[in-house]
Symmetry: C2
Subunit: 337 residues, 2 copies
DNA sequence: TTGTATGCGTTATCAA
DNA sequence: TTGATAACGCATACAA
């Protein structure tokens, strides 16, 4: 049951391969009669052009790669990614592009990149120092960075610093002076090397310092519900009882809240919790989460649009960071007297 | 700045293309010396095999396609999909496969399928009658159906009927006799043609009928938060005031709850809400959602494993439907007296 | 152990 | 308007 090739169609229609190809890709150049005949034969034979052969010849694959620095089961634990893909997907649909998810292969993102048959990449949180980025640049494939910045690459970012600072100020204004920061990664995670981590952390710390408060403690966590829960438990096992926590993403914040409630705390009375991102469910959880909103889907759309432009050979300017906005809901309150 | 090909490496290393190819794909056949030399040259030249050329030759692409009957911005509005992808992604990682998202192209799934350079498909909710399924079968690519069944294809399913029936019985046991079903699609959506829709609907209706209650009304909705909200509003605009609603998915149920609370209802006192799927956030919303749990990630893993087996040429038996389980939380209660 | 030659299925150039 | 034919870049059977 071998595959029907263009040659089979050509033979059956008694024309050349060129003609068959034209019937599909350049119908205008063919006489009405032969075009119709070829099309009929192709349909009858159920001819489908071989994608790899096609793209070997055209040097285009019709798909863009979404580079994720972690395995899919990790990345998709954060609803942020769903939201981002919705934005990317919208633009992809407009341009008849499909989306290839490219997580590390055997732990190596570089080898995954090499094998990915794509016309361009959108890279998620891959930062300046990363060697992967260099090999990516050499590939001469257009690439847009999301939540990261590197010289020579165009990045789509939000104003992480300002958003974080406004969140911290919100807590301070409520009267909190015992604040803990819930980090973005496991113990040993270097926020400095992680663009958004560094910016958000700095925003938190600066605002707290400017309020004359001592440098806040930081507890390691991650980007998942479970990581948030673990962070809370670690915090209370240590005996530290902050009146508020600043998280670096919503899903961890939600995990913190769940663990806190499970431990018998009354939220927000006993503990104020702040997230970051404003994923949709932030508004639905209990209590509704105070968080820093960023336009996630819009970020995806923008990144995809920039990528498409670059795939068409256009030079694109680095966009301004997207604005963030503090959304005050019910997970924050004055600290207990 | 043309691409470095295998020929360039061969010339620079003063060997044949075969030798270069062996250095990568068949290192054992080469002498230590030449292998190292070739590798060194390849690295210096930054040689990266062209994916399309590679797969044209090997007839494999190293990626599997996830067929979604709706655009990505629609599909990813349901966290169910994230969860499924986590499962699929796990197995893909084990086998060095990447995942290609394949939504309809210009409204046509068939043309999208034709252009997708994949070694197999996992299809989401594509049902028996669908013509797409036939063209898929003819492509001789292995394909696993998720949440769907069709003769000649192996499908991964759950026991939708039993789960739905148990949910309905739960409401009946609580004393509800005024129940509305929130459907899976917009007005005109034919649940009968939609495998899981038909089964869940039947489960609901049968249980209600067996309790001697009148056939429940059904209101159209969809698979998103917004659709759930719209369903609730339509319901109350019509003046019907059920004491409970049975939804066909969690995200719509959560939308119903949000709209109901916004309308001033006290949940679950004024309205009991039941979902389906048990996506993670079902436990975090307010009130925590009573729902029918299905093993979503496990479903993804199973589908991916079956697909991988078929890609290796093994015949696979159709798996048993996965079990569901009613999870009673706080969104259901006795109806108001 | 390494090289030669061919196939993979298209598209695209050029000539007819 | 259509047809030969040459890329496209790699893998591999076979030969040396």
């Amino acid at each position: 049951v071998s595959r029907v090739t263009i040659a089979d169609v050509a033979k059956a229609a008694k024309v050349s391969k060129t003609t068959v190809s034209f019937a599909f890709n350049n119908p205008g150049q063919l006489s009405e009669a032969t075009r119709k005949r070829v099309e009929a034969v192709a349909r009858k034979l159920r001819y489908v052009p071989h994608p790899a052969a096609r793209s070997l010849s055209t040097k285009r694959s019709g798909s863009v790669g979404l580079l994720t620095p972690q395995p899919l089961e990790t990345v998709f634990a954060n609803p942020f990614v769903s939201e981002l893909i919705q934005g990317i997907g919208e633009v992809c649909a407009e341009h008849d592009l499909t989306l290839l998810l490219v997580p590390p292969l055997n732990g190596s993102l570089e080898s995954a990149i090499a094998r990915a048959p794509v016309d361009g990449f959108i890279s998620l949180g891959l930062n300046a120092g990363d060697p992967t980025l260099q090999s990516l640049n050499r590939l001469d494939l257009p690439c847009i960075l999301v939540d990261a910045e590197a010289p020579g690459s165009t990045g789509v970012n939000i104003d992480d610093y300002a958003g974080a600072a406004s969140a911290a100020r919100h807590l301070i204004e409520l009267g909190h002076d015992s604040i803990v920061i819930v980090g973005l990664g496991p113990p040993g995670f270097d926020h400095g090397r992680h663009g958004i981590g560094a910016q958000r952390l700095k925003g938190y710390r600066d605002a707290i310092r400017q309020a004359g408060l001592p440098r806040p403690r930081m507890v390691s966590a991650g980007v998942s519900f479970a990581a948030g829960g673990a962070a809370f438990k670690q915090l209370y096992r240590d005996g530290s009882k902050p009146t508020a926590v600043l998280c670096m993403n919503d899903i961890a914040a939600i995990g913190v809240m769940a663990a806190a409630r499970a431990a018998g705390l009354l939220l927000p009375h006993d503990l104020s919790v702040v997230g970051y991102d404003d994923i949709p469910m932030a508004a639905w959880v209990n209590p509704p989460l105070t968080t820093v909103r960023q336009p996630i889907a819009e970020k995806g759309r923008l990144a995809a649009r920039l990528l498409v432009a670059r795939m068409k050979g256009k030079a694109v300017a680095a966009p301004q960071p997207l604005a963030t906005q503090l959304i005050v809901r019910e997970s924050t309150a004055r600290p207990p007297a």
